[in-house]
Symmetry: D2
């Protein structure tokens, strides 16, 4: 055995490892995510959701969700290294008990109307395309008064909070929380480019608006499509903002809504924040390339897909479409490590 | 002549003055504004506005405005020590030439629909109750396609910028600026709790929204009146926000809209920021007291009044009313000198 | 009388004034301060200070200060429109009673060592060139254990706080406050590019450091003179910072220390913030021009002069010199109205 | 096979996983880090460092570092889940080639004087106890003109940047960078509670000061020990600050220096941010407990140890000691997930 091997062997019991053997992997020339792109066709996922609905009760299941796992991160409950995504089903009459946790959550409504989520004493009724927030450490529960299944996309920062070893959670004793104020109060207070004269930000760095209704968000996109030039990479794309800061709705996740006009054929880009997409309306195609590999996904309503970090992607749509997406961009920005390139 | 008088006389030519003779006035135990309350009844002001319309052309007058001068600050073009307020008239077909200045301006529409203001290439149509911003150093002009007179309240930080010796202004060569983008583009970009993905704040610390339509602002107040407890001092009151910061729409002025419910009889308060009020709808009464004096104003639609710094005020309304107001609060806050008291 | 004059006369009792008659003055094309440059030679001022020391006791005088009044603002206790400056004398054994006020104060020590100021229970010994802060609304008092007269420059935001009608003041019952912690504690906590792990900013937006000793500040300038290129306008100039924000030490005033190297002949500049200078060491010349007028001041140690807003100024020094200065720049920046030009 | 198992099996190929089977682990009631405490005695590590010095050249090794791996994260080059720590050796005359990367680095000098690190064209000489920063994406290299071995602690955010898939790196063509300005220039510019009048923050959110000399930091601690009450948990503890923001020196890592007075016996605490400690002077003991387990480490000069997230720890010292530490606290704070408890 040569000197080095002997050294490695001798120091190993002391929890010492030679940097020079691993430096290249530790400090790679460019991002080298273990994730790969993935697509979940709603036609394929929906039957499993319904089977899950039959197989277990809401109460038993607590949260009846199918996790969208990145194919290269199986067993880690992660869509990208830092983000969790899942599709949740709630059936008519069901009520999920109340709990809270340090993890922040977003809900993006995929199918069905009439379910509700309650945050901190205020209910919000869910309609397809609505983007709803559960701020960190707020009591929340769900229920459904719909007459059919309701499905939404859950996006959480679970892997991040796990990575930073900072998760706390509590279950409430009762089934669901008391309603403390009428539906829409938070939006009336903060949603109209106005705010109460005297207030603390009720949820710290998280938006005081629980619900960004699709009706309003889509209206903004449609107006902009008529009013302003279409971006050659993104079509017409807006980010949701926390109206008390101008920043992202949650400190850990950014959310976006974009409209690809009819016949749009976008230019390619790449960015360090990996993103999860949910197709709201219409259909189109995403082409992702990385390291000589290529993924080409045709997507339709309610399909979901992942564009990992530093993968080159481009979007196209014949009939036009609307896409919701979320990523960990605000963390990249807070840490000073966000990079993006718009290619031509 | 005693020693002191001799000293004062000797040093006076050297631009030296004894502090001990003026200390009490310089550092008073509490704010001691030279301003007093004032009321402008619209019924009395309107005829003067129309006479001004007849007496001079828009072009000649450049800005046909009657300045609301505080009775104790006559000749200073000031409603309070730091704020300018005026009522501007524009007649059908008139167009005011374009200019820009470091002073920030707000317009609050008092009477008439169909006039427009253009900021940085984007027009905004004016309707009663709309709150419109002209950011510092942006080209702006006005015109009217209405079929009758249009009147708005101008609120500017002119006295502040004069006090800090920081005013610049330019007139454009042409009559009015080119329209660069459709009406409503700024609101589509920033008004729906969303924002473009890639943007600089287009006007620095000033809100990227030019126009806060009354329709939306009033809707927020009405919803809150139903949803939440009425504040015992303010009724239902919201401040307008810059959605990119959560702060005031301009760095120099805060703006507010409040609804006093039917039969409201408010508690008294005082604050260091003096405020100018514009009555939008309904009628009521304000009672102001200070240093043993009392001012009691009954107000109706389109009336204007001033509540000076550290004067105790209370509001009441039998039929209910809506009030717009603006003050220099953000400056007090930036300088760390804002104080308010809610009395009982 | 013509129509207009009749209109003006009729509306005058209603506190209405025509904008079009005053617009040009209200919104000038460039800053047009009423202030002019001024110089106070210490040789001329000092005898008045000593006469003031003889004429009145410290107790009687409360604050024995000669106000440096701008020649065009006589009677307003102002060096520029927004800034107060005065020279304060304290004699051996004197103690000034404790008080507090919303106005922020800076002390820059001009002559003598051994006096002290106490802020919020902590004393600071004064030495020439030290820059000391009295944060808004903190109890403070002064005393002297020196064996000769001690003189310092007082810089306050008195005119600003008066303009915004936001001044409060209190006198304490006792003569001076209890010492609550050893001298230097605040500097130990915050002065070494470190800070306590758990703390609130003890004085809000004001620096937690009371005293910036000349010894350290001068050392920084001298090192930079050797290490880095000399600025063609400023020589070697640093601004004092609040180490908890990176901003100015007080929200209302910026402070600067600069060294003009031997033989420095600076380029001209102008800026909207007017400034008061105190000469610490050495001698030189300032040339100020504005609107066709010219002021040329030769200055030596302990002289003071004012460069008003938007006056063109240039500095020169044969033997080299050190200058302290303060201005209202942070307010200009907070209000978005700061402008400066470096001319060649 | 029951219904559920059949469902799991059927959906598995679709990258779908049932949340309800893993929910408890994903959202634990309290932080449940895989890390455990660890101690590296310098007496045991130093011989391996010297053997590494003999076994490989600096050039060959690029970075001759022994990584301190958490015993439960072997193979991951991590001291905690988010932090990298290593001990680096540089021998007389060696020069490491220049490179840069998005990862931020801190160096804390453990043994030997006379080595240097250069950042962005400015060299800093290393002395024991100095804390030195390599900001993200700045060119840096090291060399030694010492006459013996020099060892420092490297702390990096490598695991974080890997987790967020955001790492870029470049090697320079030449061996080491040109010196662009004298040693100490950055400190002269920003280290004395002053800053250049006109500057951008040269390294974004990272401190413009490369080097926080031990001499000054220790002086602050010693003064505070005399001036202020000793904290019952921490002794006398200060955090290093970025003087342009008041925040942590790097956006990803906080750094601390603390002095335990003679005979100190501290109270226990726990916090979500795991920390790495480096003993500068003196000796003492740390007692860590978690989940019924207990670790008791006696430490002396140059020893290193890890206190993982949410482990209860207490410090004691007979003769007194000085400890440097770093953690990922600023990320916890930016993400709104920092929690700490001080127990009694």
């Amino acid at each position: 055995m040569d000197t080095r091997q002997q050294l490695y062997r001798d120091m190993d019991p002391h929890n010492l490892t030679p940097l020079w053997e691993v430096l290249h992997a530790l400090v790679p020339p460019r991002p080298n995510t273990p994730c790969i792109p993935a697509l979940w066709k709603y036609d394929e996922v929906r039957p499993f959701l319904l089977r899950a609905g039959a197989a277990i009760t809401a109460e038993e299941a607590v949260r009846r969700v199918l996790i969208l796992e990145n194919p290269k991160l199986r067993g880690q409950s992660a869509a990208t290294q830092s983000l969790y995504a899942g599709l949740q089903l709630i059936l008519p009459g069901e009520i999920a008990p109340s709990h809270r946790h340090t993890q922040s959550a977003l809900r993006f409504i995929v199918e069905g109307s009439g379910a509700w989520t309650a945050v901190d004493g205020e209910r919000t009724t869910m309609r397809p395309g609505d983007f709803i927030i559960t701020p960190s450490w707020t009591w929340h529960d769900h229920g459904s008064e719909a007459d059919g299944p309701v499905v939404w996309l859950d996006g959480l920062d679970i892997p991040m909070v796990r990575f930073f070893d900072a998760g706390f959670a509590q279950n409430s004793v009762g089934r669901s929380q008391q309603v403390a104020r009428p539906e829409g109060t938070s939006f009336s207070r903060f949603g109209h480019n106005m705010a109460p004269v005297r207030h603390e930000a009720p949820y710290g760095a998280t938006s005081p608006i629980f619900s960004y209704p699709y009706e309003r968000s889509r209206e903004a996109l449609e107006q902009l499509e008529r009013q302003a030039p279409v971006d050659e990479w993104d079509g017409v794309k807006l980010r949701y903002v926390n109206p008390l800061t101008g920043g992202s709705p949650m400190p850990t996740m950014a959310t976006f809504l974009q409209k690809l006009p009819k016949g749009f054929s976008g230019k390619p880009w790449r960015q360090t924040d990996g993103a999860v997409y949910s197709v709201v309306e219409g259909s189109g195609e995403v082409l992702i390339t990385h390291g000589g590999e290529e993924w080409r996904y045709a997507f339709g309503p309610r399909d979901h897909f992942v564009v990992p970090s530093w993968h080159t992607a481009r979007l196209a749509s014949g009939p036009g479409c609307v896409l919701f997406s979320f990523s960990d961009r605000p963390v990249h920005q807070a840490l000073g490590i966000h990079t993006e390139e718009r290619l031509s």
